[in-house]
């Protein structure tokens, strides 16, 4: 392992109860990676959204399933992967509806992925339905 690279992994049952602990895990890592407060907030929220999606969409709140979060950083980038073994989804099929339209249709969804892509510097989704789906997120570490 690159001496400057640090690896962290968290496995928790698939329940929204664990979102707070996931955010604390992320914020500790951001602090160590040297992210400023604003960027820490963005990464925390992005990981929360990714994990909430796994809990809801991949596992339909089945708490016997596990959400896995992997983080690494060096002095340039912080990378966080959120992993599930659910059916996955095709990100290109997600409509980027206007918030106005969602409101008119009384839909509340579709905001999470938008926040993630706004807040992270790179977002990539790899899926093998039923095997392993991973949302890769990267944030550059800007010098404070």
């Amino acid at each position: 392992m690159d001496p400057l690279e640090r690896k962290f992994t968290l496995h928790v049952p698939s329940s929204t109860k664990n979102l707070m602990m996931i955010r604390e895990f992320v914020s500790n890592i951001c602090a160590q990676a040297g992210l400023n407060e604003a960027d820490t907030g963005k990464v925390e929220l992005s990981v929360d959204e990714a994990c909430a999606n796994v809990i809801e969409h991949a596992y339909s709140h089945d708490t016997s399933k596990e959400v896995i979060i992997r983080a690494t950083f060096d002095n340039k980038d912080l990378r966080i992967d959120v992993e599930d073994t659910g059916l996955g989804f095709d990100p290109s099929s997600i409509q980027q509806a206007e918030v106005e339209r969602l409101v008119a249709e009384r839909k509340s969804g579709g905001l999470g992925m938008r926040l993630i892509t706004s807040f992270m510097d790179e977002v990539r989704y790899e899926f093998e339905p039923g095997q392993k789906n991973v949302l890769h997120m990267m944030k550059r570490i800007s010098k404070k």
Partner: protein, 122 residues
């Protein structure tokens, strides 16, 4: 452990004021949803959501605002929001919520806004 979530409600001159505190995420959003539903079921459509003590919001929390806003506006009411901390405000803005909702400084400003523009026009 970090600040959990709490909801407090009060009435003021016929307006429902809902004070949020702590973390509004996918875990706590259902509580917030139930609180708004209660107002609507009671026929109270003028709702102020005071976020002064809200330290965190994720899309699940924002979804609650989206779910109900059309319904209350059809009834001549509105959901007006105040007290957003900068970190929370940023999330509202990224998603375009600042054009969809009246975002006010504090509760008195929301009360005034209800007097000036009962339903937000956009």
């Amino acid at each position: 452990m970090a600040n959990p979530f709490a909801i407090n409600k009060e009435m003021q001159d016929g307006l429902s004021i809902i004070h949020l505190e702590g973390y509004l995420d996918a875990h706590t959003a259902p509580q917030f949803e139930a609180a708004i539903q209660l107002e609507i079921d009671a026929g109270r459509f003028q709702i102020i959501v005071d976020c002064a003590k809200l330290t965190y919001i994720s899309s699940a929390g924002l979804g609650v605002f989206m779910t109900f806003v059309e319904e209350v506006r059809e009834q001549g009411g509105d959901i007006k929001i105040c007290g957003l901390a900068p970190k929370v405000q940023q999330v509202f803005e990224i998603l375009g919520f600042s054009t969809l909702y009246d975002l006010c400084a504090d509760v008195p400003a929301c009360v005034q806004r209800f007097a000036d523009a009962p339903v937000k026009e956009f």
